[in-house]
Symmetry: C2
Subunit: 334 residues, 2 copies
Amino acid sequence: MLERVEARLAGFLAGERREWAELNPDAVELVDCVAHMVASGGKRLRPSFCIAAYLAAGGDPASDQAVDAAAALELLHTSALLHDDVFDASELRRNEPTAHMRHATLHTDRGWHGEARRYGESVAILAGNLGLVYAQRLMDGSSPHARRVWGELCTELMVGQFLDVRAAARFQPDVPLARWIALFKSGRYTVSRPLALGAALAGGSPRLLAAFEEYGLAVGEAFQLRDDLLDAFGSAEVTGKPARLDFKQHKMTLLMSFALSDEPEVRALVGDDLPGTDPDELHALLIRTGIRDRVEAVIAERLKVADEAVSTALPPAWAAQLHAMAQAAVYREK
Amino acid sequence: MLERVEARLAGFLAGERREWAELNPDAVELVDCVAHMVASGGKRLRPSFCIAAYLAAGGDPASDQAVDAAAALELLHTSALLHDDVFDASELRRNEPTAHMRHATLHTDRGWHGEARRYGESVAILAGNLGLVYAQRLMDGSSPHARRVWGELCTELMVGQFLDVRAAARFQPDVPLARWIALFKSGRYTVSRPLALGAALAGGSPRLLAAFEEYGLAVGEAFQLRDDLLDAFGSAEVTGKPARLDFKQHKMTLLMSFALSDEPEVRALVGDDLPGTDPDELHALLIRTGIRDRVEAVIAERLKVADEAVSTALPPAWAAQLHAMAQAAVYREK
């Protein structure tokens, strides 16, 4: 089914490209901006969770509804990444210049009028909007229940991103808020809502939905913690993103939130000024004070919670499959 | 029915506000940003065209589907305005600071971290995204046919905005392209697609749909020409927007496109550098060369086409109603 998701994504975008090439060839640049991000090697986590839940809940593998919904999740994610890179002023994504950087460069190279930064960012925002609209169109054939789950998922994504941007600007160590944002922005969006969407399409039982919810929130939090650790300790060559971007963007990540509230030494170093803090010093301190290890322990504990949630609600083969998926999501290198 | 549209908009947003206030009070800022734009005195053109078409095509006035779809159109428009103001770096909308300006000021006043401009723009973009998601959710109860029309409308809006941003940056006098953009960005989006949506919900005949399409494209083009004239010759106090913003943003409007391709004197004044052109001189020249009058003649001619299209397809009372709506849209002062 995941192969059919890829074919659906490629086919849908190729169809749009063809239609716009006939109507107005300039428009193809925007479609291509979406297609480029879709084709740039995402992990397809959200489609995988959606399809797994659909099949585990007894959904018909021959049906196209779950394939379309999984493709919609990937397009929604594409949209979120295009926008996020603008909000974060990120220059690299998956080892390539980000969309807004590419289009700002095009603007300069072509000697066009106005501000190159604004042009690049406008194109990336509009490409994200187009991705969101495409995602929506792929959901048109879904059941009312699945579309309701989808609407909640999209709403939570936008609010979660806002809270993230707001917390980064405000920058106060606040563990409950950082957890809450991780829960909404990553936990629900990446794991539990895609599972709920798949289960809704298959008509899963309330007991199954509750188990997916518990599993999803636990894996989602662990996933976000891994994200923070990769940013802080990973290598840019492997992740495809600049190292320590969260530090540079003074993001109030779960990791920083733990560190600032639990370690007086970290608080003393950062003070009121994360942007002015030496990243190398901070990096060394997070290791020396054991924050890194403590976060690894939380990840392992969350995985255990996730395993228990599905082991009682699912047949052993599907529980094992979801265990493997959680492991892969949480112990990834990029 | 338009009163029920207002009640639906207010009720939906109040419900979201209440839910988020319980979940996370900070999130309310984003909902309020959408609600503020919705409540700031829009003309409700798109809901009006949608409801008119629905009733003219024999739709049941007691049904909520058309009310929801009309409310969705207004939320989509809210979303587009929030984004447009960022793309255009507009400082005023409806006589108030734009959303991105307000939130940039909040950022500065609160002494927050990072760049105030980026923060304000990120909040406005996310509020626009939330408006789009809300619009989508209001369409969930519509028929598959209506949802297909909606999906096309949203796609055309995003592509139209991209072509607009691109043409402003490229800035070459190109009448066919400027017409095409006006057609997609305003004509279809403001008039013919809302009409098609209303007619689809009522199950209108193909003959009626064709008449709405012809009327919509003609009124839409006239509407866009009026927009350009108001920008060039209107007063900021009446329109609520800074005067001659299109000049300052070197937008390749229909008006500028006509002027540059038809009048050697305008071409000589502007040369390759609209941003460097004196707005007062340009303004005087557009009047002296008769461009302004010529555009008024095109508007009158488009209105005639629109009237003819509906007068043969609709009962006289509805033809008169659509005539009055076209007049109001096209001979407006703001």
